[in-house]
């Protein structure tokens, strides 16, 4: 078990390096001069040269890349041009808010998905199944972009039950978490339903039933754990997407997380801050996907043994 974990963690290094290199390439190799974009058309050559030197952009690309990697190992992401603060500090201040939102969205997704999936999977083809899956396909199809303003209009503006924007207590978390969690709930519910339908046909369920258990009891007691395995994997796989989905949700609800920081950095043409935010999102995505692999190996021992 430890050997498998160590191997998977070691594989993290080349992936992280690849992601960091891709980020560097995006900022430095894509056509267009970031310095003239930052300063505008009216900037004089002296200003352009000065900023280029300040950012280290006048040095050879290989030197810039080496400096970039060295800075990463020290946790130094440079300084924000617009906010005049270390990029790392700005990210550390905002990241917990994004994690809070993503975590709440996951809880909402699980709370909605399990009953929906169970209702659908326990009686496939029935009315409840049609209803649950109809809701699921709607949930998947309505993006955060549309659901967010809709729930704001209904629950905040018309009914006045919940605050409109900003971060505060639990009440502020409800609408953004529901907005982000609904699509994920729909995807998880569909997977749980498919999984339960497959598990129903298994031999051990037939054995349990022949011993006198009802279909429902056999499914819940013996089948649910196996049915949940692909759902857990899917949840972990979708967590990465949840983080980047937070970018739009944070803008809709004025939630002070890293998504809003990234968009503000882009508007201000603050390339060091853009680079830092993109790297942080990308690294988190890589780590979450790696954690998925490890969780899956714990839940299903055949994975470790197959890979060993």
């Amino acid at each position: 078990m430890t050997g498998y974990f160590v191997r998977r963690l070691a594989a993290l290094i080349p992936v992280a390096l690849g992601v960091a290199t891709l980020t560097f390439a995006l900022i430095h190799l894509v056509p267009g001069d970031p310095v003239t974009v930052m300063l505008g058309d009216t900037a004089g050559p002296a200003d352009v040269a000065g900023l280029r030197q300040q950012l280290g952009l006048d040095r050879p690309l290989v030197v810039q890349y080496a400096e970039f990697l060295r800075g990463l190992t020290r946790g130094d992401l440079g300084e924000s041009i617009s906010m005049k603060e270390p990029v790392a500090r700005l990210i550390v201040e905002r990241f917990p808010a994004t994690l809070e939102l993503a975590g709440a969205a996951m809880l909402v997704a699980i709370a909605l998905a399990i009953p929906l999936g169970l209702i659908a999977g326990a009686n496939p083809g029935g009315g409840a199944d049609m209803g649950a899956m109809g809701f699921a396909i709607l949930g998947i199809s309505v993006p955060h972009l549309c659901l967010g303003p809709l729930v704001m209009i209904v629950f905040s503006l018309k009914l006045g039950w919940l605050p409109l924007t900003g971060r505060g207590g639990l009440a502020h978390l409800v609408l953004p978490a529901v907005t982000m969690g609904t699509a994920l709930a729909a995807i998880l519910a569909r997977m749980l339903r498919k999984s339960l339908i497959l598990v129903r046909e298994a031999d051990y369920i037939r054995t349990a039933r022949s011993k006198g258990l009802s279909a429902f009891a056999a499914l819940m007691r013996h089948g649910l754990r196996n049915a949940l395995t692909p759902v857990i994997t899917l949840l972990a796989l979708e967590t990465g997407a949840l983080l980047t989905g937070a970018i739009v949700t944070e803008m809709i609800f004025s939630w002070p997380g890293m998504g809003r920081l990234l968009i503000a950095a882009i508007s201000a043409r603050d390339y060091p801050l853009v680079e830092g935010c993109v790297l942080t999102f990308a690294f988190t995505y890589v780590v979450v996907n790696m954690a998925t692999d490890l969780v899956y190996a714990i839940v299903d021992p055949r994975i470790r043994l197959l890979r060993a």
Binding site: G240, T244, I266, Y285, V286
Partner: protein, 267 residues
């Protein structure tokens, strides 16, 4: 309809969207850019079926023109992603060995990067403009097609008809286009259909964030963004583009579901 309701409902919705996008702007004579300050935030009425926005511009015209743009951009992006992905994935599978391994590592690195974040980063760096938007969105999706085509070509290339074509002197390009791609049409069509829905949302999201189509040009995304400030007094400014996006994605998702079922049955 009974055998494959998703296919029937999905294709109906997509057909209606395509007709609305193609004919709507012609049949509705209102100019989506014409400002009329007397009609600022006007609610839906016989003269303006979806009301007017903060500058008095007709919302129905803007939604229809926005739909034309969304469908055109998403179709273009999916076509480009499909072509780029198929060429890269197919060529890697046919070449085999080190070339295939290198291409797969490259795809793995791109896939390790969250797709929408890649689109945001590219859109931010390339700047505004329709071509740059298409490039940014294509970067998001091509790897999916590359993997799909590579997987299928790897399994098909050992079949006798491929060996025969190769023995007759067919070039890798001809092998891919004439002999392998027709077999892939089903799975690729399913992925492309889901892809269009995904790109409609991504384009709307980028425009909402100010990185895609910029005002005054109407895009469902930038209409959602400008409508937010008036949600209390004029909710129709956000519900109209919101419903349009939701209906489009629903249509393409149902169509994709239906195609997947049809392809699965035949396959």
């Amino acid at each position: 309809m009974r055998r494959n309701p998703s296919l029937a409902v999905g294709s109906s919705i997509v057909a209606m969207l395509a007709i609305a996008a193609a004919l709507g702007p012609i049949l509705v004579h209102a100019d989506p850019l014409a400002i009329d300050l007397k009609e600022t935030l006007a609610p839906p009425s016989p003269g303006h079926w979806l009301g007017c926005d903060a500058l008095g511009r007709d919302m129905l015209a803007r939604v229809l023109w926005g739909g034309r743009l969304s469908l055109a951009v998403s179709t273009a992006v999916v076509m480009l992603s499909l072509v780029a992905g198929s060429v890269v994935g197919g060529a890697a599978a046919l070449a085999g060995g080190r070339v295939d391994a290198l291409v797969m590592r490259l795809i793995d690195v791109v896939l390790a990067f969250p797709g929408f974040l890649l689109a945001i980063a590219l859109a931010a760096i390339l700047g505004p403009g329709l071509v740059d938007l298409v490039v940014a969105l294509t970067a998001m999706g091509w790897t999916g097609y590359a993997r799909l085509v590579r997987g299928e070509v790897l399994s098909l290339r050992e079949h006798e008809y491929v060996e025969a074509a190769r023995a007759l002197g067919a070039s890798p390009g001809r092998l891919l286009l004439r002999h392998l791609m027709p077999g892939l049409a089903g799975p690729v069509a399913v992925q492309a259909t889901f892809g269009v829905g995904g790109i409609i949302v991504a384009e709307a999201a980028l425009s909402f964030l100010g990185l895609g189509v910029l005002p005054p040009a109407p895009s469902w995304g930038n209409m959602l963004d400008s409508g937010r400030a008036f949600m209390l007094v004029a909710p129709h400014l956000t519900t109209a583009p919101g419903v349009a996006i939701g209906a489009s994605v629903l249509g393409f998702n149902l169509l994709g579901d239906g195609l997947a079922r049809a392809v699965g049955r035949r396959g």
